[in-house]
Amino acid sequence: MLSREEWLPLARKLDWDYSYVREDEVFPEVISGRPWLPHSEWKDWEESFKTSYREYVDNQYEKDMAVQAVHDAVGRIENVQKLALPWLNSLKVHAAALPLAEFTGVIGNLRGARFGRDSAWRTMATFGALDEYRHTQIPLLLFHPLLRLDSQFDWAHKFYHTNNWFAVAARHFFDELTVGQNAIEFHIATNVVLETGFTNLQFVGLASLARESSDHMFERMVTSIQTDEARHAQIGHPVLATVMKHDPKYAQYLVDKWFWRNWRLFSILTGLSIDYLTALDQRPYSFKEFMEEWIIDQFLRTLDEFGLEKPWYWNLLLDELDIYHHMIYASAYSYRATLWFNFVIPGPAERKWLRQKYPKYWDDMDAVWEQISERWRTVGPGPANEFAVHGTALPTFCDLCQLPLSAGTPRKNTARVFVHDGRKYIFCSEPCQWIFLHEPERYANHKDIVKRVLSGEAPAQLPNLLTEYFNLTPDTWGKDVHNGDYEWLRARKDPAA
């Protein structure tokens, strides 16, 4: 009988020469990806961490048992009820955005498992698909039962099946990243950019935030997922190295495009969680500090490793670290009923902290929060006044990222109108327009929420839009966590206070 060291190399490399079909028929460029190269160019594809199926199953079993044990110990509803309200709403964001996005990762990995250009790559992608299936099941298992506590947790299952504006944006992103993608672009965009660049480190950061917030169940879940990510993220590196060797310009384009697309979604999910939905005394760092320490440095090292340049929009991105997620949060707060989780207004202590962390543009953001607070002060707190402190005109969305036109600064919004093939498009930023113009055939026919309203596909009136198109109900649509009843607001109303 062969030892592991003898049979594993044989099992990993099971490619053969085809006798009755051509190689480009077995691996068509349209689905395997470009540059199309003969297998001789891929045969040295090598993963740095090698595993067998048996080892994989043993490891995953141990990890699942550890998650289950923590869930049994601290994952009951009474434990979740003890969490701070803002953090509970950060959980709702992740409960909705994470599980079925991971499921699209199953599909992308299965594409690699069939159309990856070397058998070792295909084997690793098979494990990657199993990982992502696990990352779908665990959050569904942990979050959906919380429906008994709070009906907004229903969105763990529901989110991606709705036409909620954020779901439209998230689907636009994940459908392109994973579901409708060829194997080469999938593995570079997902493994190198999303996982190595963002989520692998984001999960470390999220675990630390969860620990600070005493949410040990979420901490364990993301830690467990992160260990899988760290393993399967390596698939993309030898793929990128080969593309870099044969078509460096295309490799640079893929990295630039996907870093921007990831940044857009990531800054909302993580930026809002760190800077607004974590209690002030439990924030270990600001989102900007987290980005600079964990994401930016690591990404620059990855670029160096492959001989890639910084993306052309680098300075713009660094500038956005100071403002983009703040613009989004204030906009989303004022349209909170269009989402499935609740929001909190930053009070004087939070605003002082935010000013310290984000001195560059905070004056402009502070004026916005002052105005919103003033409205609550005028109408008074209470659930009945939620819509008196809510936007009424339809907010607008980018034709590429599908997110609100909230880029630039309050003084100068960077949205730009562009005519392509006789049709008018609007983009939140130059990089979003640049991506669109590189592959217009991919994006041109997608309608953002505004175009759907204008074409009669979605209702124009906000109440109908919320219930008929965004699938929200009075129970589930977003509110202010305190319905505007903040001690600091009350104190200011009383001039003697």
Partner: protein
């Protein structure tokens, strides 16, 4: 028939869809945007309407200014 426009009020955090009438003045259009954004931005009396990088005469109508469906206009502090 109302003309859908992308309105950006200086000081605001998001662009808004504003339905304009051909015959209304740019001053009225600016007021419409200010009202729509009043939850986030304090209303100012003196503002300028900017379209295609040009500051427009506020007494002009939407039609005279040449604003077309899905164009961008900005309202800046005057």
């Amino acid at each position: 028939m109302p003309i859908p426009l992308y309105g950006f009020l200086q000081g605001d955090t998001v662009g808004l869809l504003i339905l304009a009438e051909e015959a209304e003045t740019l001053q009225a259009l600016a007021r419409k945007l200010q009202d729509a954004a009043s939850l986030r931005v304090e209303r100012r009396d003196h503002v300028q309407v900017v379209y295609n990088d040009k500051t427009m005469d506020p007494t002009m109508t939407v039609a005279q200014a040449g604003l077309q469906a899905l164009d961008r206009f900005d309202v800046l502090s005057g």
